[in-house]
Amino acid sequence: MTSVALRPGVKLARFRDLTLVPVIVLLLVVGAFANPIFLTAGNLTNVLQQQSALALVVLAEALILISGKFDLSLESIVGMAPAVAVMLVVPAASNGFGTELPAALAIPLVLLVGAAVGAFNGFLIVRFQLSAFIVTLAMLIVVHGLHLGWSEGKSLFKVPESILFLGSTTFVGLPVSVWFVIILFALAIVVLRYFRLGRALYAIGGNIDAARAAGIRVDRVLWGVFILGGTLAALAGLLETGRLGGISANQGVGMIFMVFAAAVIGGVSMDGGKGTIFGALTGVLVIGLVENILSLVGVAPEWRQLIYGMIILVSLIISRVVGGKAQD
């Protein structure tokens, strides 16, 4: 038996969470040169606020991916959960269902709807053992279909104040939505690093049979992760509604591509069991900064997509080169 000196390997693996840090630094430098406004607190706060909904969905997806599963339907929850909750609360004249539940219930209802969709996903995937990819692909269509059907495709403009509040108020100099992101990410980082429950996600994603043999209640944890994921997506929808002042029938549509891009360039593996929440956060920041710089520089609109895609591709290649290992 050789005593293999594996230390350097370990160090490198830890670095994987940090591979995007140089990219972020680069973007900050480029941005600073491109436009003097860029490095102002105001602009950077805007970036954070604009990305807060994306960030929460990335958090949800990262938790699900680390557990070795997959959820595409989150993007539809971002629109549908707040829309349904609002329709339960506002009068029929403002496109409500006519139930006119008390406005105080609006926020709990949003979260409840998200949790319910997550629970249904979890049921089909964990209990019924269907493929997560395809279940949530179908649910992406179904959930958005419910949103369209119930709202008849209309935007909801009359939204209870409590919901708008979350997306538009500031607290100690930062928008409330940014505080949400900071607190929830910090919480998730700590739980995933230092608590058995968090470590269980890695174990399940890494080798589900081994996790089961070690006494982890795999089904219960997975189901919980799907419910949490749905809830976080609903919260993201809430923040987005507050930021935009209403809910269009398209809210969240197409977002899932960016969610995966952020999570994966941030080092979260599609194969489960690998990656960190901090890494996912750096992925969100890269995407937010790129968007902001493209806007500030005023790149011709038709070329923005390309530059965007190239930056994702390059981040990916950088993290391959720095991370060293073949990806999965």
Partner: protein, 485 residues
């Protein structure tokens, strides 16, 4: 207990009783139901009929994993190591801490202590995925032993270990027994049963056949109980092999080196000759064998098969080589594909013209191979995933032999296969040699190497000794340990 999987009955009203404090062997052919029994005894599966009792008390509810883990610890046949986590975390999986936060520093310390106590030279901070197969196995064993359970199950723990590692494990098991720990031990190495077990239970065809003290069941009787027919240790059918110099060289290596694996290896294998390779873990023998078949490119030197240089696997196969890779699950077969398809994968181009694979010819060829190697199956169309381990290994051997190779490289061909299958597999190598093939046989098991005309011993990446047929175990082991070079 009875346990069915769809149409398969894995356990048919079979039972076992293990006395307090004994080390009890469970043996049986591949697919006899041993691992199924393990999963029931450790609470992973519920039997269709029957029940488990610990010290006369009913087993815990299936959902109560903690209660099960207090009763019984287990080294499963399939790895339960999580590659992306550190060794320390694997050792303390789901018991890293109580309700509060995990303190990683002390956890690592505990892990390092544990590893040291069991003589496992592995860094607790390393990622488990970076360990060798052997190291992982040792980590699993250390974990099971550390659970504090009074009853421990070991399902083929030695299949991936070399001699010294096995001896270390046995010392540990003896110490545990002295402390009063009860163990159930599964292995296809029957000599191990006699070495450390007091009693033995035999399963055959999903049924319990016999339980007896080991002293009352000599080797031949044990094999007979397992197979249902009389038999013994595999004995080489051939006498002394051909005198090396005269016959044609079918496989040659010249001054091969590969950094971190082996250095300055030269080798000639003649037609009709079987050359063995022995060496302890990380001696480089596997790396060398994988280079011979084209899986690795050496830093320097050349390999030729029938005078054709080997650049990669296809060129090696094209030159007339057949081989059995180290790990059948990883590179031996495609589980979802049929026996016929797996066995003929390397000769697909010979089963039809213009890139067509004629199903009839494929089937015919497969039927012949199934017959030659006595593969237990309902037919050539059965997916290999449905076969027991020994039979799957025979399919891998069938693939190696499919093209009547003139050179054969076989790595650990009998790992985890039962005694009958072992005979069939070694017999197949010998038959190939008799037909004029030259073979390289790399194995951790001394018994396998007995069919070789000469054995080359590797140590730290070099060939340190060549011993002709007729060696003694002691002689070979000493060379492998580097004590006699």
């Amino acid at each position: 207990m009875t346990k069915r999987f769809g149409p398969t009955t894995a356990l048919d009203d079979a039972g076992i009783a293990i006395a307090d404090g004994e080390t009890h062997a469970l043996v049986g052919r591949n697919g006899a139901g041993k691992s199924t029994l393990v999963s029931i005894l450790t609470g992973l599966q519920r039997p269709d009929e029957g029940e488990v009792r610990f010290s006369g008390l009913a087993a815990p509810a299936l959902a109560d994993r903690d209660a099960w883990r207090r009763q019984v610890a287990c080294v499963y046949q399939r790895s339960t190591i999580i590659p992306a986590l550190t060794v320390a975390e694997n050792l303390f999986l789901n018991r890293q801490a109580g309700r509060g936060p995990i303190r990683w520093g002390p956890l690592r310390k505990r892990a390092a202590d544990l590893l040291e106590r069991y003589g496992v030279a592995v860094d607790a901070r390393a990622l488990a995925g970076d360990l060798t197969v052997e190291q992982r196995q040792l980590v699993e064993i250390a974990r099971a032993l550390s659970m504090g359970a009074r009853f421990i199950i070991l399902d083929e723990p030695t299949a991936q270990l070399d001699g010294p590692a096995i001896q270390r494990l046995f010392e540990r098991m003896r110490a545990l027994r002295a402390e009063g720990v009860t163990m159930m031990y599964i292995s296809h190495h029957l000599e191990e049963v006699y070495e450390i077990c007091q009693s033995v239970t035999v399963f055959r065809d999903a049924r319990h056949v016999v339980t007896a003290p080991v002293a009352e069941l000599p080797h031949d009787a044990l094999v007979a109980a397992m197979t249902g027919e009389a038999g013994g240790v595999y004995r080489s059918r051939r006498g002394a092999g051909p005198g090396g110099g005269t016959a044609r060289v079918v496989l040659a290596a010249r001054e091969l080196s590969l950094a971190g694996k082996y250095r300055d290896i030269s080798l000639s294998v003649h037609s009709g000759e079987i050359v063995g390779f022995a060496g302890s873990g990380s001696s480089g023998k596997i790396g060398l064998a994988e280079t011979l078949v084209g899986l690795h490119r050496p830093d320097t030197g050349t390999v030729t098969v029938n005078d054709t240089p080997v650049r990669d696997v296809p060129s090696a196969l094209g030159a007339g080589l057949g081989f059995v890779p180290q790990d059948r699950h990883r590179e031996g077969f495609v589980p979802l594909l049929s026996i016929a398809e797996n066995a003929t994968m390397t000769i697909a181009h010979k089963l039809g013209r213009h890139g067509i694979v004629a199903p009839s010819r494929q089937r015919a060829r497969a039927v012949r191979l199934i017959g030659d190697l006595d593969i237990k199956t309902e037919g050539p169309h059965q997916p290999v995933a449905d076969l027991s381990g020994g039979n799957a290994q025979k399919v891998v051997m069938a693939r190696a032999l499919a093209d009547d190779p003139s050179a054969l490289v076989v790595i650990n061909p009998t790992a985890g296969v039962d005694v009958k299958a072992k005979q069939a597999l070694l017999g197949a190598v010998e038959e190939a040699a008799e037909r004029g093939a030259g073979a390289v046989l790399v194995s951790d098991e001394l018994d396998d190497l007995r069919i070789c005309d000469r054995v080359l011993v590797m140590f730290h990446g070099r060939i340190v000794k060549e011993v002709p047929r007729g060696w003694s175990d002691h002689q070979l082991v000493a060379a492998m340990e580097g004590v006699d070079a």
